[in-house]
Symmetry: C2
Subunit: 240 residues, 2 copies
């Protein structure tokens, strides 16, 4: 209890600080002794998982460093050993989610060598379902400004995921001989269309949406048909 700081000011806060008994430390560690090298990585992973869960449950801004730490039974400052600040924790979660999404897309293209339109159709469906099944990760990753740590990354996971998708669209453009189609623009529009549904459904859960499967199937169909039709002249719609 010795005041070893130089200023000798009275303590003023620290009354309810870290004193939320609702959050108990996770005692699944097993050992009670201090650990050394290598264990740090484990702790780092624990922090990431706790943060992911709390971000998911309560959102980024409302999740505090202190509560992440408390849920692991450590003090808030211990977190700064593994991450420079709160934003860096979010950045790492974002990057991991982006990677998962990209792998999803790449696997699909490699595993199903069938009609490119069918592959694109399935990829779009997959994307939307992925988003809806990982609401919090999706929200963290796509529905808020990218933290600089991710944005300045040369291997920007968003760009990578986009490129995977672009390949699928290009396959369709070539297979269907959609002359005059800008595959890049089409991919951006398709992505925007997928993102919009996921984003709105996640952000407006109380909206009276039509039944989920109808909504998703119809949306995929709308987008894929749109890609086919919008690509080469508007011979069906009739809008000069």
């Amino acid at each position: 209890m010795i005041n070893h700081a130089g200023t000798m000011a009275e303590p003023k806060a620290s009354k309810l600080d870290e004193a939320t008994p609702a959050l108990e430390p996770d005692l699944t560690a097993g050992t009670c002794t201090r650990k050394r090298k290598g264990e740090g990585c484990q702790r780092r992973q624990e922090i990431l998982e706790a943060a992911k869960r709390l971000f998911a449950e309560e959102g980024y801004e409302k999740t505090t460093i202190r509560r992440i730490a408390a849920s692991l039974g450590i003090s808030s400052t211990a977190l700064y050993v593994y991450f420079p600040d709160k934003n860096a924790v979010l950045a790492e979660i974002c990057a991991s989610t982006f990677r998962e999404l990209r792998q999803h897309c790449a696997d699909l293209r490699g595993a199903i060598p069938s009609d490119p339109l069918r592959v694109l159709h399935d990829a779009v469906t997959h994307y939307i379902q992925f988003g809806l099944e990982h609401p919090h990760e999706y929200h963290l990753t796509f529905n808020m400004p990218l933290p600089p740590e991710v944005k300045d990354n040369a291997e920007h996971p968003g760009d990578c995921a986009f490129q995977s998708f672009q390949a699928l669209v290009q396959d369709v453009v070539e297979a269907r001989q959609l002359h005059g189609a800008d595959g890049n623009a089409l991919t951006q529009q398709l992505w925007a269309g997928m993102h919009g549904l996921v984003s709105l459904v996640l952000l407006r859960p109380d909206f009276p949406w039509v039944e989920r499967s109808v909504l998703v199937k119809g949306h995929v169909q709308l987008l894929v048909e749109g890609v086919l039709r919008a690509a080469d002249g508007r011979q069906c719609g009739g809008l000069g």
Copy 2:
């Protein structure tokens, strides 16, 4: 400088509080005397506009009540006379933006009694342009969870705007005799598609988007064609 509070505790903060010289009060008021009834509404509007500007420039979470107040030359607590909390300020801005958007849509339908498809086409274009031209209001309104003040409102502006759009889609469904089309689902999908583009472009300004007008025109076309095609069987795409 008399300490009129009962507790006689030492002041501890209040050092840099409200002491940011960069933010000068807006001295356009003219009179220097205190004002009475009716002037309160003016101050309320001032707060809303300052908040809108600051939310726009720096985002909701980073904008503090103290800075909103400082930009008007009043103390932070004065704000609580007009709004119960920070969220309520955001809620009012949201509601106002929703109204503007809805009016946009209604005007368009009333003023141009031409081909329903053309009207829908223009409305979608309008929506996207509106979003891109009001990036911060759009972000505040659509890209974050609705505050309860707006959500619990019976005249939920989002629902109203949606209904306006639904009417346009229904016009198209009837004019083109798209049997088997669920106008409600189509509207939701169309809205999701529009929202997705606006949302992504606003949230990822550094992404290598194709040229803006190409992107928007192509997207509108993709969506409108998608509505036409997705509505009644997939006779063009060829995906069983």
